[in-house]
């Protein structure tokens, strides 16, 4: 998930979800720190403190591996996407080494859903999968 200055993260549970969202878990703190670093456009700090050296980020559109590629990717992708404001985090699940969420977000193209999944090794992301419903399907 990419965010830009002005982002707000609202942990609003989906009323239909059976998942109870707990805001104060270690993974939740990790996620909030993740968003804060993105919000500050501190891509170097984000990648070096949140991703393993051999980490991969993968989506429909791009696949990148390793710190240097990740830093360049976050800078480029955030630049392309003028802004992305997280309206709500609708689903959340976490375990000892994984967490995933679905969120509703606003972009320059409209409001839509994004989903992200993370596998962490020794507290750092080693695999990050991300996706979205195409913007054309959620233009409002």
């Amino acid at each position: 998930m990419i965010v830009a200055p002005g982002t707000s993260v609202a942990l609003t549970p989906d009323p239909n979800s059976k998942i109870k969202i707990v805001i104060t878990t270690p993974m939740q703190h990790f996620y909030e720190e993740h968003v804060t670093l993105l919000d500050a456009r501190d891509f170097e700090g984000l990648v070096r403190t949140h991703y393993q050296p051999d980490a991969q980020v993968m989506s429909n559109d791009y696949q990148v591996r390793g710190h240097d590629e990740l830093i360049r990717h976050f800078a480029k992708y955030t630049g392309l996407m003028a802004y992305l404001q997280v309206i709500s985090t609708d689903k959340w699940v976490e375990g000892d080494s994984t967490f995933a969420f679905e969120a509703t977000a606003r972009t320059q193209w409209g409001v839509g859903r994004v989903h992200d999944a993370f596998w962490l090794r020794d507290g750092l992301i080693v695999r990050h999968f991300t996706g979205a419903i195409p913007a054309t399907r959620f233009l409002r």
């Binding site: 998942i19 696949q63 699940v93 375990g95 994984t98 995933a100 679905e102 999944a117 596998w119 695999r127």
Partner: protein
């Protein structure tokens, strides 16, 4: 004679008489009847299969000639319940009339598109010289081959499939079937399956998860619209038929040493 070979990635060891044709071995001994017997004399092409990736007429080979080979029949050209770009194009272009020649056509044209990724109309027609259609529906078959190239390009992959694609297709085949043990064996002993219904770890928990009505015909992946692989990871988006209708799902897998170590799944 005892021979060992793989058919659609599944190993087989069979006792077969030396006189038995490969097409009869596949149909009568392994029960894969998608391969048709038309002329039985190497003329019509209804019995074409892939032997080590090369299209051959299985009525023109003895079964024992398959010893050690990798055979792909129409049943294995795409995972159960799904269609590859060529099959999608055949359907869309109405390239099927009575359908008897279709398995042989699909297999032959799969070989064509691997051998000549962008064939001309002349090359398509020349390649099909060994496949006879008694309905004479060749025009739409040629259109389908052209359409298949566009479909394949949009998905950025086509046969021959990568090892990861083979793994995924095999996984889907098992998932769509009801072989729970074979499905669980796709996972490493300490695999982690993360969904918004919860996280399960290890074979027993994964077995329990799938036992709860999450596999088989009532919950089948009927089409994988997106398949992307990168290193040890796969990302897919699929249509799933459920008791409540069609669902659009996404899955991410980490596959190491041939086993799933991590899987994420959600519904769009």
């Amino acid at each position: 004679m005892r021979i060992s070979f793989t058919v659609n990635q599944q190993p087989h060891t069979v006792e077969v008489e030396p006189r038995v044709l490969l097409v009869d071995l596949l149909r009568d001994h392994i029960n894969l009847t998608g391969t048709k017997v038309g002329c039985d004399s190497g003329q019509c092409g209804s019995c074409v299969i892939l032997k080590d990736g090369i299209s051959v007429k299985s009525c023109a080979l003895l079964g024992v000639q398959a010893d050690g080979a990798a055979i792909t029949t129409i049943e294995g050209i795409s995972p159960a319940g799904t269609m590859n770009p060529l099959q999608v194009a055949f359907q869309a272009a109405h390239a099927v009339q009575c359908g008897f020649c279709t398995p042989g056509m699909i297999i032959s044209l799969t070989d064509l598109l691997v051998t000549i990724p962008h064939p001309t109309e002349h090359q398509i027609r020349a390649w099909l010289a060994g496949n006879l259609c008694r309905c004479t529906g060749y025009e739409n078959v040629v259109r389908a081959v052209n359409a298949a190239q566009q479909i394949a390009a949009s998905e950025a992959h086509f046969l021959p499939m990568s090892a990861m694609r083979h793994f995924y297709d095999s996984y889907v085949g098992v998932l769509n079937g009801s072989d729970l043990t074979a499905l669980v064996e796709r996972y490493s002993p300490d695999a982690v399956l993360t969904t918004f219904e919860g996280i399960v770890t290890g074979h027993e928990a994964i077995r329990s998860y799938f036992e709860d009505g999450r596999m088989g015909a009532e919950n089948a992946i009927i089409a994988t619209e997106k398949f992307i692989e990168f290193g040890d990871s796969i990302y897919t988006e699929s249509s799933v038929r459920t008791a409540h209708g069609l669902a659009h799902t996404y899955h991410a897998f980490v596959v190491q040493d041939g086993l799933i170590t991590h899987q994420f799944a959600g519904v769009k």
